[in-house]
């Protein structure tokens, strides 16, 4: 432990001791090239205890490849990965011992039952006797697979298979949890259960989940890293991601007895408004503020000054799908 702490402090002097205590995953300039194809091209980010990092990006952006390098399954072309202070290229076994990993598609040994499968994982994880029993029971309970423990995994539904994979990943209560599309292909109830489980565990772990389901950004993540064509194009909180939207703090306004044309003309003349557009689906307009500022109160005051009656007025938080498109598409298009 002493040695590791020393290494942490050297590497992150400027970040301070508080950060080094909780820093769990350090990825620096990570790259993987397959011949000419740069699947991952210089990815850098850090994950600390208590964080749920949502790793976003279009299909083929390099999410799975990055995760495979973090977990030591793929050797990087360049760059370093450290998990709990251990370098994956020099001490892969220690890295793997500190990781729980749910690979894409949750592969398992299909002819085993969840019970024997989890016992095997517990053996390999160095658990035995009462600790092994406890770990298997607790993981099975948290992943909610207790009722299928003695059926061959190949006979289970997709949702249960995924949960068996989850149970396997959390069995040894790892400080770092990495999950590749943990909710892909699940129905809404199953998605909710998996998200609840991840939220329950978030406090004392560093969690990385990859996803292309944007609703998970708000449901799960405390931070997001977006990659496109193997490069990080965004690293920040979900709120910051939403703030990049054109629709961030835009106000939807409906006014009684005033037609849209007249309303648009007046609103666009206000000094805190850059633009406005009629709604496509309903009566009313959408007002875009200058510099993303909050304009609900000044806007409602101005409308009342005109003697108009407001039917409804609310601010939008931003549209993730639009942000996602705008920050990932240019690069994808560029590659083609």
């Amino acid at each position: 432990m002493g040695l590791n702490n020393a290494r942490f402090e050297n590497a992150f002097d400027e970040a301070g001791d508080a950060l080094s205590m909780t820093l769990r995953v350090e990825i620096e300039d990570l790259a993987k090239h397959f011949g000419e194809i740069r699947a991952v091209d210089g990815v850098t980010f850090l994950v600390s205890k208590g964080e749920v990092l949502g790793f976003l990006g279009p299909n083929g952006a390099g999410k799975s490849t990055t995760m495979k390098m973090i977990t030591g399954f793929l050797a990087p072309t360049r760059g370093t990965v450290r998990v709990c202070g251990y370098d994956v290229s020099t001490d892969p076994i220690s890295v793997k011992a500190n990781l729980g990993y749910l690979p894409e598609g949750a592969p398992a040994y299909a002819d085993m039952t969840p019970d024997s499968f989890l016992k095997f994982i517990a053996d390999i994880r160095g658990l035995s006797g009462a600790a092994k029993k406890r770990a298997v029971a607790s993981a099975a309970e948290r992943a909610r697979i207790l009722n299928v423990m003695y059926q061959p995994i190949e006979t289970l539904s997709k949702g249960y298979k995924r949960r068996v994979g989850l149970a396997q990943a959390i069995l040894h209560n790892p400080p770092v949890l990495i999950m590749d599309e943990p909710t892909d292909g699940l129905d809404p109830n199953q998605k909710h259960e998996v998200r609840t489980l991840i939220n329950e565990m978030a406090e004392d772990k560093a969690i990385i989940i990859s996803t292309h389901i944007l609703e998970e950004v708000n449901a799960l993540c405390t931070r997001n890293v977006v990659i496109a064509s193997g490069k990080v194009v965004f690293d920040g909180t979900p709120a910051e991601l939403e703030a990049k939207s054109r629709y961030h703090n835009a106000v939807v306004l409906t006014v009684n007895a005033i037609d849209n044309g007249k309303l648009l003309q007046y609103v666009t003349s206000l000094e805190f408004v850059t633009d406005a557009e009629p709604l496509t689906s309903a009566n009313g307009i959408r007002v875009f503020p200058k510099d993303g500022q909050h304009i609900t109160i000044p806007l409602s005051e101005k409308i009342r000054e005109q003697g108009w009656e407001i039917a409804s007025l609310y601010a939008e938080s931003g549209r993730l799908d639009e942000v996602f498109r705008s920050i990932t598409l240019p690069r994808t298009a560029g590659v083609k």
Partner: protein, 246 residues
Amino acid sequence: MNMLNIWFIMKREFGGYFATPVAYVFIIIFLLLAGFSTFYVGNFFSRGEADLYPFFSLHPWLYILLIPAISMRLWAEERKSGSIELLMTLPVSVFEAVVGKFFAAWAFTGLALILNFPLWITVNYLGNPDNGVIFTGFIGSFLMAGGFLAIGSCISAVTKNQVIAFVLSLIVSLIFVLAGYGIVLDFFSSWAPQPLVDAISSFSFLTHFDAISKGVIDLRDMLYFAALIAIWLFANALIVNARKAD
């Protein structure tokens, strides 16, 4: 090298054979073929000798056909189903996994071999065989099976397709057996220098197995099989490492 990890992987893999009918089908076919070849091809009765030479002498040919059926799934299936990503991200080394899986397959073959014990009872009932020779015969056959399995295990890491793994293993095994066969050696001895013919012959399973199955325990024969297994498993680990993510 963590012996416990090897043991856990071996245990899981060994259990895997019995999770499906594969194990039972294999054992039954092995016993039928072994019995059939001993009595009909090997002329067990008409030889009039109380030994199991007819039984053991046909093992190389049995193994060429049957061992690839056991070894083909070892890595090909792991890669095809994607479970290799799970296995290789657990805190085990590639070599532990390779050795654990190999031992599982070897133990399974050993079990199938031991289940031929009725033949041993028969020959003891009918006459007074040299049980020491029979014992070394079993050891030699078991060692040779390990050689075939190491080849098969290595080849099953090359492909995701079990049928390809089966066929390739069968061909390579055949080469290793035929290298000691009279016809092949005659073909070489007509033009090749004697040292080369000896070298080819010394690589053959037959050359080394024949002596052991006749009750002659030569350290060189033992070392041959041990080295063969070690080399193929080493190559196996290299291939798994290089191709696991393909």
